[in-house]
């Protein structure tokens, strides 16, 4: 496996009162495990506040995890005894060995490009920062290569971000991510700031360079139809936990967790005919606060399937229901057996 995340935790303390005591914990990511294979895409979906962006930042160690392990299997990314470096605990020297293998593409290309920097410098920056290529000439040649790879032209080198459209800026974001030749890219809502007609171009681009470079993708989004087009596997997050995961086709065709089913039933579809026949599950309440969540299933307050006391006392674990399909719900299987 290219990336294995085990029981990852990120808690944010809420401080206040005398001497800044810790009053409570926001459990943004609470025991998340998954893996990504070479050349594969895992889609992480969930609504705002479910912890998907915190998860991404923790994997890149942009923020410190509170527990768990993150193992990335790449050439040169091993310790003295040949063991994989655990990103969750790595020293800054060890991080230096793996950094270039992990990159991120952000949602808003506008804010991730320095408006006063020419594109050639913005794109070359990872080479500089990671001390990969120092020579300016070589840098420029590399930049040209990746710009061409994402469908931009040599004359774009000397331009500034404001001279580009939203779609082009996102291409620049992708170029900058691949210039260090990473094995893993985290895509945080890469298409949600661009228009539909351009969105499809970006999706096609991401798929093509993945095929060519055999990169693993972690695709974070709230847009279920985009994830369906991109992902091999999918993980549905709710309040810091994965509630359902597995093969994307399988999860989309037979969602089992009550939350997943409600989420999928609410996907807006651009069709007028046959809308009435589409079953819809409307959830009551709203996403509860992740601050010191009560024991038991975190979905219990909004769940329309809850069947006994167990749901509010014990936390359901992810259990295998099919070869590549896991669900964290006590009721799994009892009514949806097919």
């Amino acid at each position: 496996m290219l990336l294995e995340v085990q029981d990852l935790k990120k808690y944010f303390p809420i401080r206040g009162g005398l001497g800044s005591r810790t009053l409570a914990m926001v459990k943004a990511v609470d025991g998340v495990s998954f893996s990504v294979g070479e050349g594969k895409t895992i889609g992480i979906v969930g609504e705002s506040g479910c912890g998907k962006t915190t998860l991404a930042r923790t994997i890149l160690r942009l923020i410190e995890p509170n527990g768990g392990s993150i193992l990335l299997d790449v050439d040169g990314g091993h310790g003295k005894n040949g063991e994989k470096i655990d990103i969750a605990k790595a020293s800054s020297k060890e991080m230096g060995k793996v950094r270039k293998n992990m990159q991120m593409v952000f949602q808003d290309p506008q804010s991730s490009l320095d408006p006063r920097m020419k594109i050639k410098r913005s794109v070359a920056e990872p080479l500089e920062l990671l001390s990969l290529v120092r020579d300016r000439k070589l840098q420029e040649r590399k930049v040209l290569e990746v710009l061409e790879e994402v469908g931009l032209k040599p004359e774009h080198l000397e331009r500034y971000p404001h001279e580009f459209s939203g779609g082009q800026k996102q291409r620049i974001g992708v170029a900058r991510a691949i210039i260090s030749d990473p094995k893993l890219i985290i895509l945080d809502e890469p298409t949600s700031a661009v228009d539909v007609s351009v969105q499809a171009q970006i999706i096609n681009l991401l798929k093509r360079i993945q095929r060519e470079r055999r990169m693993g993708y972690i695709f974070i989004t709230h847009d279920l139809s985009v994830v369906y087009q991109m992902a091999d596997e999918i993980a549905v997050m709710y309040l810091g936990k994965i509630v359902e995961c597995g093969d994307a086709e399988e999860v989309f065709k037979t969602p089992m967790h009550p939350y997943t089913r409600a989420l999928f039933s609410a996907i807006p579809i651009p069709e007028v005919k046959g809308r009435e026949s589409r079953p819809r599950i409307v959830l009551g309440g709203r996403v509860p606060s992740p601050i010191d969540p009560p024991p038991g299933c975190r979905f219990v307050e909004r769940c329309y399937e809850r069947h006994d006391k167990m749901c509010s006392e014990k936390t359901p674990e992810l259990v295998k229901v099919k070869p590549n399909h896991y669900v964290a719900c006590f009721k799994r299987g009892s009514t949806w057996e097919e």
Partner: protein, 336 residues
């Protein structure tokens, strides 16, 4: 019955880089009681159209032509005849009686429509006192009634809250209540659900539809999201680079799109039932409207374009029933 009729609206903006030709002869009608949706991508001019109707444009804007006709007995000077008023010719003072009272606005970001310093009740009753001449007591009970209408319970408690104490979905409901407060014949909603999660989006859309019927208002829905359009609209107009390129009843548009741009747009939406190795897309990107393409503004991206497309703009023409399209070669596109 027509409520709002936009005729040949042309609007430009003076900027440092040049003149942005934002609206290039926009035309559409909104009927009484219907949900009419104006759809387009970033920069197509849908928001400028909305700002032009409400006359809330920056000083760099210049109107080159067109009319914004609005039928309302209270506004019409010749009361007996049902003559429309041209909103673009009203004085600023007269426009104060239109905004909020006759045409209300629901924006994308409810946070920015609410004043963080005042509780919800104060903000809704302001509308009631201003546009419906209510006293404090009457306004109080109407605020509670409106909050109940938008399904915010318990209304007494919500009324005392400040905007930051509410969730995004709740705030959008408050804004809907404010829009309804003056009982306007027309509500313009600009991307009302874009900032909401899908599970909340559905509920807000349902609510808007229900209240639209109950209060007998028309809704002009401005969005980029065709799925939202399919859900709520009666009729749709597709905008591209400052023009309406196609207009039709919603089912007709989705089942039988004719303009090459509409076709491309619908094909580019990711499906949730069929996975594709390569998705369909429209080549190129939206033009810079400082230097808009000549003739049909879509022609550089259009696969059916011929030489005359770059010479003269095709006008919006009726092809059948209520279906209009602005394309010389829609028959070719339709046959493909």
């Amino acid at each position: 019955m027509t409520l709002l009729s936009i005729e040949d609206l042309r609007m430009v903006f003076n900027t440092e880089d040049g003149v942005v030709k934002a609206l290039n002869g926009v035309e559409f009608d909104v009927e009484n009681g219907e949900t009419f949706s104006l759809v387009g991508e970033t920069g197509c001019g849908k928001s400028v159209t909305m700002f032009s109707i409400l006359r809330i444009l920056p000083s760099s804007a210049r109107m080159l032509g067109g009319r914004v006709l609005f039928w309302d007995k209270g506004l019409s000077k010749t009361l007996k005849k049902n003559n429309p008023v041209d909103l673009s010719s009203l004085s600023n003072r007269e426009m104060l009686k239109v905004r909020g009272a006759k045409i209300a606005l629901i924006t994308q970001d409810p946070q920015s429509s609410l004043d963080p310093l005042y509780p919800i009740e104060d903000q809704i009753s302001e509308v009631l006192e201003l546009h419906r001449n209510m006293g404090p007591k009457e306004a109080h009970s109407e605020v509670l009634n409106l909050l109940e209408q938008v399904q915010l319970a318990p209304p007494e408690r919500i009324a005392r809250k400040y905007p930051h104490e509410l969730s995004g979905g709740q705030r959008q409901r408050v804004v809907i209540a404010m829009a309804l407060a003056a009982r306007p014949p027309l509500i313009i909603a600009d991307e009302p659900t874009t900032n909401l999660d899908v599970t909340i989006q559905e509920k807000v859309l349902d609510l808007m539809q229900e209240l639209k019927r109950k209060f007998n208002t028309s809704l002009l829905l401005i969005t980029h999201d065709l799925a939202v359009v399919a859900e709520v609209a009666d009729r749709v107009a597709i905008m591209y680079a400052g023009n309406i390129v196609e207009a039709a009843p919603v089912e007709e548009l989705f089942e039988h799109p004719l303009h090459p741009y509409t076709k491309g747009l619908l094909a580019a939406i990711p499906s949730i039932t069929e996975r594709k190795e390569n998705m369909d897309y429209i080549p190129g990107s939206v033009p810079n409207l400082i230097y808009p393409p000549s003739g049909c503004r879509f022609h550089p991206r259009c696969r059916y374009a011929k030489s005359n497309c770059s010479q003269e703009r095709p006008m919006l023409k009726k092809v059948s029933g209520k279906h209009k399209v602005a394309c010389y070669y829609w028959r070719e596109a339709d046959a493909a």
